[in-house]
């Protein structure tokens, strides 16, 4: 059974990775901790679920998969709106105000989700069911989980290449390393920050969309991933993409193995590991 638990660990890691990647990009480039990140994730989930249900049973499966992207798109749009109207006025203000505005946005969005989609659970399991199971080492394993892992890996690679090789990516990294210097060099901080925020939101929305075939979208279900993403950021180091990867692996595996071995306290176990890492290295594993 152990290979299955480890695979599950990778599956959790994949989803948490997408969310923390977005959180870390926003944190690194803009210096803002987006407390509303879980709501963007939830928006992605609800949108994707709604789209799949709306398309109906007869729709070809490729279209169903394509509609998952709608979650990312809607989350990105909300992110754009948020950044432009709420966060940009806060640039010059103290950090605490930025945190408070994202907290206010969280409360707002939770009810906006309720307003748009009501209070019931949204199920959309077709993308999951259609793939069936594969056999790994004699055990049946949902193929959809493998798909998620592959997709996440690809996206991780894409983001890495983007950050390392493209002009925009390099500019984003410059800002995250030294904002003042970047401004002095003439980079358009506003546009790039908006881009970073929208990218982060899109990743969160995508994570939500990807999970919806396996779990129902419910009000308030963005909270737990948010906390786990925070732990990833803290353990991996603020603003570090490598840290997000390693952190997600740690969190995902601890979760998966913890649920089996220490079901009562697997979250506490996670915190314990995080605490140990922080005591040894206060900036996180790859933090500055």
């Amino acid at each position: 059974m152990w290979p299955i638990y480890i695979l599950n660990g990778f599956y959790f890691s994949a989803l948490i990775f997408l969310i923390s990647l977005g959180l870390n990009i926003i944190l690194g480039v803009m210096g803002i901790l987006n407390l509303a990140h879980g709501s963007l994730y939830a928006i992605g989930a609800f949108m994707a679920a709604w789209a799949i249900i709306a398309l109906g049973k007869g729709t070809p499966i490729s279209l169903i998969y394509a509609s998952l992207i709608s979650g990312a798109i809607l989350a990105a749009l909300f992110g754009l709106f948020m950044e432009y109207f709420l966060i940009r006025p806060m640039y010059k203000r103290a950090l605490e105000y930025q945190l408070l505005i994202t907290f206010g946005t969280l409360l707002l969005l939770e009810d906006v989700i309720k307003m748009i989609w009501g209070g019931e659970a949204y199920y959309a399991s077709r993308p999951f069911d259609v793939l069936g199971k594969v056999h790994i080492l004699g055990n049946p394993y949902p193929a959809y989980f493998l798909l998620v892992m592959i997709v996440t890996l690809l996206i991780g690679l894409l983001v890495w290449v983007f950050m390392a090789k493209t002009k925009v990516g390099i500019m984003l990294r410059a800002i995250s390393l030294d904002r003042e210097m970047a401004t002095a060099l003439g980079l358009n901080i506003h546009k790039l920050s908006t881009f970073a925020f929208v990218l982060g939101a899109a990743l969160a929305g995508l994570a939500g969309a990807l999970i919806v075939p396996t779990t129902a979208a419910l009000l308030g279900f963005g909270m737990e991933p948010l906390i786990l993403a925070f732990i990833v950021v803290v353990v991996g180091g603020l603003g570090s993409l490598k840290g997000a990867l390693v952190g997600s692996l740690i969190v995902g595996q601890t979760r998966s193995i913890g649920i089996v071995v220490f079901p009562e306290i697997e979250l506490a176990l996670l915190f314990l590991i995080a605490a140990v890492i922080l005591v040894a290295k206060p900036e996180g594993l790859f933090g500055r």
Binding site: M90, L100, A268
Partner: protein
């Protein structure tokens, strides 16, 4: 040298405070039981918010995890009620709540103050969610999602068997709560005006220079954290007697966020700000919940408007107004952080 009014008891501010206390003493006569109990909720949160603001307004550390210490006080009381009924009297409960919240804030504070700003905020938040998770997991002790019921405790030799809660709350308990509230205010004012309080403000304003004038920044942050947690735990315990029940959501970070909100609402730069914010928020939240199912939207929207337009909160806004009327110079720039 300026004339020192500090020694004069008859300062205008003191007279106003005395007048307010007199009004509060007679409040049960004016307010309906419903509103009185609501006001009492407000008073417990005022104590919580004062404690929170010691750390935020005066020391400059924003914690989205103060619910953990509220929980320590609240569940501390509730578990006493369940497991140690012989000890279930107020004289033991209040020190007990202070003790439990002391332990929790000492441990969590030690972990948190090694970091600043964002890291600190995340860590404080995460730790309170740890408490949240633990409360659920150990449901056989804590009652899990159902929580625990809390009956009226014995107080100073009096028992309240057979007394209905509203009666208790509008009678003896109100005066008890009021005295603790006044004591809290006096103690907090003492802390804030003491050399220690001034050192905290120096740490808030210029951490590096504070270190360079010989102030042990990390140590004093920890002391502030612990004091802050203890006041919050005290508020939590007092709240429990009004509520009659504790549930895990008081350790959720959104609840902690409400504590932050009410402090901001009242104004974090003025001593009385958190008190005003706590009381107004209590009534505001009930009104919002009563008039629409989308009350979180209202709270969220008002928070955003507050941050954008009135960051110094209600008390701060009033103060700026009176300063203008009196023709006094305003301190330069946006949110004046000077605490009086």
């Amino acid at each position: 040298m300026k004339v020192d009014l500090e020694r004069t008891i008859l300062r205008p501010k003191v007279i106003i405070y005395l007048a307010i206390i007199v009004v509060l003493l007679f409040l049960p006569r004016f307010l309906s039981t419903f509103n009185l109990i609501l006001f009492e909720y407000g008073l417990t949160f005022a104590i919580v918010a004062l404690g929170f603001n010691l750390l935020f307004g005066y020391t400059g550390l924003l914690s989205f995890g103060h619910g953990a210490y509220f929980t320590a006080g609240a569940y501390g009381v509730a578990m006493m009620a369940k497991y140690f009924p012989e000890l279930y009297s107020m004289e033991i409960l209040i020190p007990g709540a202070l003790f439990v919240s002391f332990i929790m804030s000492a441990i969590f504070g030690f972990l948190c103050v090694r970091h600043t700003k964002i890291f600190f905020a995340i860590l404080a938040l995460a730790l309170s969610m740890l408490v949240y998770a633990l409360v659920f997991k150990f449901y056989h002790i804590t009652g899990g999602s159902d929580g625990l019921y809390v009956k009226i405790p014995r107080m100073f030799g009096m028992t309240f068997e057979g007394v209905r809660r509203p009666q208790f709350l509008s009678g003896v308990y109100y005066y008890f709560l009021l005295s603790i509230f006044v004591l809290t205010c006096i103690t907090m004012k003492g802390i804030v005006n003491s050399p220690f309080g001034k050192a905290l403000q120096a740490v808030r304003d210029n951490e590096i220079r504070a270190e360079l004038i010989g102030i042990r920044v990390r140590r004093y942050r920890l002391y502030a954290f612990i004091l802050s947690g203890m006041f919050t735990g005290l508020g939590g315990a007092l709240w429990t007697f009004i509520n009659g029940q504790v549930t895990p959501d008081v350790s959720h970070w959104v609840f902690s966020g409400e504590i932050v909100y009410m402090t901001l609402l009242g104004g974090f730069a003025i001593f009385e700000g958190p008190i005003i914010g706590a009381i107004i928020f209590t009534f505001l939240k009930l009104y919002a919940m009563g008039s629409t199912e989308y009350w979180m939207f209202i709270i969220g929207a008002t928070l955003i408007i507050l941050v954008l337009l009135l960051p110094t909160g209600i008390a701060g806004g009033v103060k700026s107004l009176t300063d203008i009327i009196r023709g006094k110079r305003l301190f330069s720039g946006g949110a004046s952080h000077v605490n009086r």
